[in-house]
Amino acid sequence: MKIKMLFSIVSVLLVTAFFASACAAGGGDTIKIGINAEITGDKPKVGEQSKFAAEMYVKEINDAGGIDVGGKSYKLELVIEDNNATAEGAAGAANKLISQNNILAMVGPNPSNAAVPAGEVANNLETPMISPWSTNPNTTLNRPWVFRAPFLDPFQGPVVANFATKQFNVTSACVLFDIASDYPKGLADNFKTAWEKLHGAGSVLQFESFTTGDQDFSAQLTSIKSSGCEVLFTPQYYQEVPLIVSQAKDLGMDIPIMGSDSWGDPQLLALCGNDCEGAFFSTHYVANGATGATKDFIDKYNAAHGYIPGDVAALTWDSMMIVTQAIKNCGTITGNLTEDRTCIRDGMASIEDFDGITGNMTFDEQGDPIKCAVIVQIQNGEFIAFDQACP
């Protein structure tokens, strides 16, 4: 009796599961795009902006009737998965999106420590992925299925080094970075190489590190101060930058402090206050003084969510546009996951002179875009465009 009942329950479940999966695969006229974002963890603002931008984009496309692929109209559907801003979380979320949710393309993760492992998963499972924000070369290196929207650290490092040399007229620098995180570590190395190329070996006087979660940087900053270098480069995220900058001031340091694109978050202005006034960093786009499509996007985002979007929101918007463009380039959606994913990947690789809101881009053979960087200064609590550097 009991066995019979169990058997019937199991069979009912199996039938339901079969129909559910049939529906998911058949899916009518929707195209599923996965968002692998940092909803929780130590960079929640990054994930939030990425998610909001993607949702705005999808709403806009669907309200206009969806996208037209090979004469047939498709709606976009987002599947959002939290990666907790960790390597394990990102790989897990990528696995789930690709194998369970049957997405055709994945947007995210954003920070490199999450994007590098997630890229490995996407590449192995042969699903196109585009990271809106990861600038570490390893994310796309030798991975034909993985693309990105921002420029790379080997480009960004020299941009910062050239700018600092010219702007402050200095020859020696120090670096303070998180050695346990992919992005700061990679960029610190790139900056060091670029600086030593300009000013000779040994011109980076202190190459100091700390580990994720540290809040006291006084020992490292004391070493940096006593080395007598003339500029400090710290490629950190918004949760460390205010602490580093204020502790540097507490120790009586008055040398200029420079950052990288990870600074370009509205949260940095809120947390850093007066201490960051006048600091420079390199980034992808500036909200202030934007025109055209970029301004439209900023206005729409600000109206919907009540704050000026950071670079990660704009780059997510571009990534979504790139995915859509790739689907259009592909031409047909067959319903066969393997075929569609391959077709979208090829569509993405063939994108040329793409006109995004963070600038013009063309993908090289590694899946990296060739585009310009902006140098931003923090003035009166706002990001103001100061200079531009193109490859």
């Binding site: 929780t40 130590d42 490292q220 006593s226 602490l243």
Partner: protein
């Protein structure tokens, strides 16, 4: 290496060590009375910092709900400190009431209490994450920061306050435990919990007093920590808390002097290793030093071995 460099790092280490000592003393107080490692203590510290954040932001008129007038600094600082200590003490007492006392009254083994404490710490942490969201918060500026430069050495008034305050608090705690009747009762409970009620002392009251003491110290540490490192995060208590716990063990858990010495030893090793070697060696060397101390003296520097009576 110049003398300036050494003195500057000495001051840095004093500040960091003071924080570790202030939190370590909370572990030690509760252990001294209950023989319970209160793993929730790091998160009570976090609650203190967040409570200080809310009260401080409210009183300095930076909160969503505004006061109709501005308060002067000499009102804001004491009110924030006292109110934060009071609220955090309530949280500490509530944890004792909800989580520890029912277990203790049923005569549960101490191991279950430790696991409950660990659980309650996580509850506070993720409760905060769920209620307040994952965004970092900026601690309000309670003290106007003044930077003093003497030769090549730079000190802020906040660093000086932190160091002086931690010495003051250690002194007061030592006085309470060693010189007052309440302190005597606290020490008596740790010797023999069965005999103490026979002398007409309420064990529950003394335990409550201990939690009030420990939690309000955590609140004070939270406010000072928030002032020195003004970025608050929901898991800040765990990161600092376990380092302070190790400091307490090295000093000899149960001893206030031990917590203080342990805190400073850990603080000094961490800062000086980071100053002279790559920072990747910092925690490795710091904890090897602590391990060596424990290997030579397993009860910690000031700990007294306890004999189980048969």
């Amino acid at each position: 290496m110049t003398l300036d460099f050494f003195i500057q790092n000495f001051i840095n280490a004093m500040q960091w060590g003071s924080f570790l000592a202030l939190i370590a003393v909370g572990y030690t107080l509760v252990y001294g009375v209950l023989l319970l490692i209160n793993f929730a203590h790091g998160d009570i510290f976090m609650v203190g910092a967040y409570t200080g954040y809310f009260i401080g932001t409210f009183l300095t008129n930076n909160f969503e709900i505004k006061l109709p007038f501005d308060l002067p600094g000499w009102v804001v600082i004491p009110v924030t400190i006292v109110a934060t200590m009071f609220i955090t003490a309530l949280v500490g007492v509530a944890i004792e009431r909800i989580a520890y006392r029912p277990l203790r009254n049923r005569g549960a083994h101490r191991l279950y209490l430790v696991i409950t404490a660990l659980m309650f710490g996580l509850l506070l942490e993720y409760g905060n994450l769920a209620l307040l969201g994952a965004s970092d918060r900026q601690f309000p500026n309670l003290f106007d920061k003044i930077i003093y430069s003497i030769g090549g050495i730079t000190v802020t008034n906040i660093k000086i306050y932190v160091i002086l305050l931690s010495f003051l608090i250690m002194g007061i705690l030592w006085w309470i435990v060693q010189k007052t009747r309440w302190g005597m009762a606290m020490r008596a409970i740790s010797y023999d919990r069965l005999a103490v009620p026979l002398m007409g002392i309420s064990v529950d009251q003394i335990i409550l007093f201990t939690f009030v003491l420990g939690s309000s110290m955590a609140a004070l540490a939270g406010i000072m920590y928030g002032t020195a490192f003004p970025i608050l995060r929901f898991n800040m208590g765990m990161l600092v808390g376990w380092q302070a716990f190790i400091a307490a063990v090295v000093g000899g858990i149960g001893s206030i002097r031990g917590a203080m010495v342990g805190g400073y030893i850990l603080g000094f090793t961490q800062i000086f290793v980071a100053a002279f070697l790559p920072s990747t060696y910092r925690d490795l060397i710091a904890f090897v030093v602590l391990l060596l101390i424990l290997a030579i003296k397993p009860t910690g520097l000031f700990g007294v071995p306890r004999r189980t009576k048969v």
